[in-house]
């Protein structure tokens, strides 16, 4: 019951901050467009008036990108460097906005506006950045211990099957462990936005402590949202990849559909923040 109440509380808090969810979406869209729009223009210029685009429509990309006229190496260099930059910048942007989201998700009886959102984002940025780095480092170490080392041992075995089974078991263990790291990071950030002390390490320590204060409820609630998030991402990506739009109007509709998915994805993250904030507030 407590889990359900917390999930509902988190959901309501997220619905309440819809404007800020849209702000995060818009900022991400602008960032991504800064990368993709020039790339698209460049590719259109490369293809010129050619009808080779019919090969793209048929799924034969190879016959398009491998041509003297395409300059594949240059395009790939631009694509991958741009991709790295946009993903990196996007991640930083989300760390920044996470401060704002956590700040406006609090329920202390007062209405929260732009000052709270951007103020929370700005004042907590460095601390949130370090919390994210700690969290990713822990996840990386866990992956190395749980999957990497057994994989290295399994590679030298006779059978491909052993490696495959090792990786499957390791994946399951990681899937169980990762939510714990996420909960600790979420509690750390929920604590951080209420604290005047901006100390990421202390915050992470607090996060771990708070996680164990109500581990079962916290774990189930967050794990449930992570599963929903994962399934949503899987089906959203798959659906988008397989969606076919040939007409101009259909392509625009596809774009709108995709953006709706992106907004829902941000909403699910905000929901998780809301659940942890709700749990955190219940401790006080």
């Amino acid at each position: 019951m407590k889990i359900l109440l917390n999930l509902l509380s988190g959901l309501m808090r997220s619905v309440r901050i819809w404007k800020w969810i849209l702000a995060v979406w818009l900022a991400t869209l602008l960032l991504v467009t800064l990368f993709t729009f020039p790339l698209k223009t460049g590719i259109n210029a490369t293809l010129g008036s050619s009808m080779i685009t019919e090969k793209i429509a048929a799924g034969h990309f190879f016959d398009v990108i491998v041509n003297d006229g395409f300059n594949l190496q240059t395009v790939l260099a631009i694509f991958f460097s741009g991709l790295f930059l946009v993903v990196f910048a996007g991640s930083i942007l989300n760390i920044f906005f996470a401060g704002g989201l956590f700040n406006v998700l609090k329920e202390d009886g007062r209405r929260r506006g732009a000052t709270d959102f951007f103020g929370g984002a700005g004042s907590n940025f460095w601390s949130f950045l370090v919390i994210s780095i700690i969290s990713f480092s822990v996840i990386f170490l866990l992956a190395l211990i749980v999957a990497g080392i057994p994989a290295i041992i399994a590679v030298s075995s006779d059978s491909d099957l052993i490696l495959s089974k090792t990786m499957k078991i390791a994946s399951v263990i990681l899937m169980i462990l990762i939510p714990a790291v996420v909960i600790a990071a979420d509690y750390a950030r929920a604590w951080q936005v209420t604290s005047n002390e901006k100390n990421a390490f202390r915050a992470f320590g607090k996060g771990i402590k708070l996680m164990f204060r109500s581990f079962f409820v916290s774990y189930i609630s967050v794990a449930l949202i992570l599963v929903i998030n994962f399934l949503f991402s899987f089906f959203a990506v798959k659906g988008l990849l397989y969606a076919k739009a040939s007409g101009g109007g259909a392509i625009f509709l596809l774009f709108l559909y995709g953006q709706t998915l992106a907004i829902i994805k941000i909403f699910i993250r905000s929901w998780r923040y809301g659940v942890v904030t709700s749990l955190y507030e219940s401790f006080h």
């Binding site: 010129g48 990849l241 040939s246 596809l254 994805k265």
Partner: protein
């Protein structure tokens, strides 16, 4: 005839052959075929014992070579290929770089304990290692035995050899890994004696090259009687037909095998193999694979049966009643993707999705070598395109025929890659695609172009030729190539000659009296092909406007454009590359009508102009993409209203996917 140096008059050959050879060789006793398919100028009887601990195969071999030429031959030459793995100074490692390893167990070598003639006379004293290709004193991959007396025409040289073959740990086609063994190039094997007039030989001589970094092999079709003794728990696959398998009662077992009319004999042994059997017409198929890859078994078996069917139908029959192929385990993956006619290795991986057709492709390719150098035993050292390129061409045809045209490599709803496209990628992307023609010895291809030129470029120009003359004409040419050259040693020129005969027979003078114009540019040339649509111009024919004179007085007429309905439409084409190939041009007009034009492709520029009420909407050179040599498909077409929607659709998805990804990795 020579028995280890004792020459016997030619007239008595037959009787002595019967008396002396039959107990040792079963070349006359037809175990597999009712009569020999080849001349069988060489033959081998080998008793091999594998010691899994020392990684050594101990062998006793009786071998013969028949001097089928009219030459007096002073020596015999043998390939001793395992010595390529004996040090980092061998020609093989000098050319490849690296080293076979520093530990004793890493190295590979072949040691001759004795070489004797039939009378027991030791020939070791007259045997020496030579390096005919590069003079490398550290290379011991070719052994020359100076005969005590030269071999007369019709004589047979007979050798009894005891050897030890240590397999290398770093498997490059041959070697071991733990308890896995792939035993290839493991016994002393005769080179090919080429008399004057055979292939390119101006004078008679041995064609017996060293083992190079980029080279394969060249041997006579032979009979092999091989017995293999291994620990009884080992599963063995060989290039021969297993006649008997007996348990020796001492923890070992012996397989008695025989192969006829194949150019090489290899075998593999590993306790972990699972064995699967199948049958295609007269061919018993055996497939050895790690047991965990059983989900791949049907894929491999289906692929090999497709290849059998397609090549039998379009080239010629596969004569052997036995075929074994192997998917080596991961630790022996260096043995994967190699051919020994009736034994070949493929490759795959556990859990590989069905839309990735790489395992099928490797199976089809390696099986195809049973034809292109197995049956049609070209010289892989000197004309690698004649086996690898021609075989790649057939592999592409088979893959695209059975697994979907345009999707013979990857067949996924989101991404389709044809086998042919992969070949084109290699050629188009190579910065050295014009560095050399196909007509080069394998180790002389410069700048790492061996694979790209011998496999892919050749396959591309054969695909292009198919686009020109059609599949059935190509099939007919290959059938004739098979009829003329099966179980012989064709050269590249022989291949060209067959096409020069068959294609004019089918088409008359449509492609000229021969196809030299094509082969000179593609096989023997280095030029690239690039045809281009430069511009489409649609210009209205205007009513007359301007000055005219009436009785010496100047009048000016103003045009009445409203009634203008005629258009002069021109599509401008250019040839950017050196290659001159005939191409088709499909032109679409705004009323929906289309016209297909032919251009011999010789001039630098070409315009097609039309006058009428219709305008040109688009033009495509080679609309069916038959010219695989064209390095730029993008400029092959032009539209007055280019369709940007496919690119927009991709980028629309890319934007959302990127946003979802950033969101996914955000904590």
């Amino acid at each position: 005839m020579i028995f280890g140096g004792n020459i016997i008059p030619k007239g008595k050959i037959n009787i002595l052959l019967i008396l002396l050879f039959i107990p040792l060789f079963n070349t006359e006793a037809q175990v597999i075929f009712p009569r020999p398919l080849s001349q069988r100028l060489t033959g081998y009887r080998i008793d091999a014992v594998l010691d899994p601990l020392s990684k050594i195969v101990k062998g006793k071999m009786e071998a013969f070579w028949v001097n089928n030429s009219s030459d007096l031959v002073p020596d015999v030459r043998l390939h001793m290929y395992l010595n390529a793995f004996s040090s980092n100074r061998t020609t093989f490692y000098r050319e490849r770089g690296g080293s076979p390893g520093s530990r004793e167990e890493d190295l590979g070598w072949i040691k001759l304990n004795s070489i004797k003639d039939r009378n027991g006379i030791d020939l070791k004293e007259v045997a020496k290692y030579i390096s005919p290709d590069d003079g490398n004193p550290d290379d011991r991959t070719v052994l020359q035995i100076i005969l005590p007396r030269p071999a007369n025409p019709g004589d047979t040289v007979y050798l009894i050899v005891e050897f030890e073959s240590k397999l290398p740990s770093n498997i490059v086609r041959t070697g071991y890994s733990d308890d896995f063994f792939f035993v290839a190039q493991w016994f002393p094997k005769f080179g090919v004696y080429e008399p004057a007039g055979m292939r390119y030989a101006a004078t008679g001589g041995w064609n017996c090259h060293q083992f190079h970094g980029n080279s394969e092999f060249y041997s006579n079709h032979s009979v092999y009687d091989v017995t293999i003794t291994v620990p009884e728990n080992y599963v063995v696959g060989t290039g021969g037909m297993t006649l008997e398998e007996k348990n020796n009662g001492d923890g070992t077992k012996t397989l008695v095998t025989r192969a006829e009319d194949i150019v090489d004999y290899a075998w593999t042994a590993w306790p972990g193999y699972a064995v699967f059997k199948d049958k295609w017409n007269h061919v018993d198929i055996t497939f050895l694979t790690p047991p965990e890859r059983k989900n791949m078994v049907q894929r491999h078996l289906t692929a090999v049966k497709y290849a059998l069917e397609y090549l039998t139908e379009n080239v010629g029959p596969f004569p052997w009643p036995h075929l074994t192929f192997v998917d080596p385990p991961s630790k022996g993956s260096g043995a994967g993707g190699m051919e020994y006619t009736t034994l070949f290795t493929t490759m795959s991986a556990y859990g590989l999705p069905e839309y990735i057709l790489m395992p099928e492709m490797v199976t089809v390719h390696e099986f195809g070598h049973a034809y292109f150098m197995g049956i049609l035993a070209s010289n892989e050292f000197e004309e690698p395109w004649l086996d690898e390129g021609v075989n790649s061409y057939w592999e592409e045809r088979i893959m695209d025929h059975y697994y979907g045209n345009g999707a013979g490599m990857i067949n996924h709803p989101l991404l389709k890659i044809s086998d042919r496209s992969v070949a084109r990628v290699s050629y188009v992307m190579s910065p050295s695609r014009q560095a050399e023609s196909n007509a080069q010895w394998s180790w002389n291809y410069p700048h790492g172009t061996y694979s790209m030129l011998s496999y892919q470029k050749c396959a591309l120009w054969l695909q292009t030729l198919t686009g020109l003359v059609g599949e059935e004409a190509m099939n007919e040419a290959f059938r004739e190539y098979y009829r003329q050259w099966a179980f012989k040693h064709p050269s590249g020129q022989d291949f060209v000659n067959v096409f020069n005969t068959v294609i004019p027979k089918i088409y008359g003078n449509r492609y000229g009296s021969n196809l030299n114009w094509f082969f000179d540019q593609t096989l023997y040339g280095t030029g690239i092909c690039d045809y281009k649509v430069v511009n489409i111009i649609n210009r209205k024919v205007r009513d007359y406007e301007g000055a005219y004179f009436v009785n010496d007085s100047l009048e000016v007429k103003k045009g009445n454009y409203k009634d203008d309905t005629l258009w002069v439409s021109t599509v401008q084409l250019e040839r950017n590359g050196e290659l001159m190939l005939p191409v088709e041009i499909l032109i679409r007009f705004d009323d929906g009508s289309e016209t297909l034009e032919q251009w011999d492709g010789r001039s630098r520029v070409k315009d097609f102009t039309y006058t009428g009420t219709r305008k040109i909407q688009w033009a495509k050179i080679d609309p069916e993409y038959k010219n695989m040599m064209d390095v730029n498909y993008i400029n092959n077409s032009m539209s007055v209203k280019p369709d940007r929607k496919p690119v927009r659709s991709i980028f629309s998805k890319l934007v959302t996917q990127l946003m979802l990804f950033i969101e996914f990795i955000s904590l």
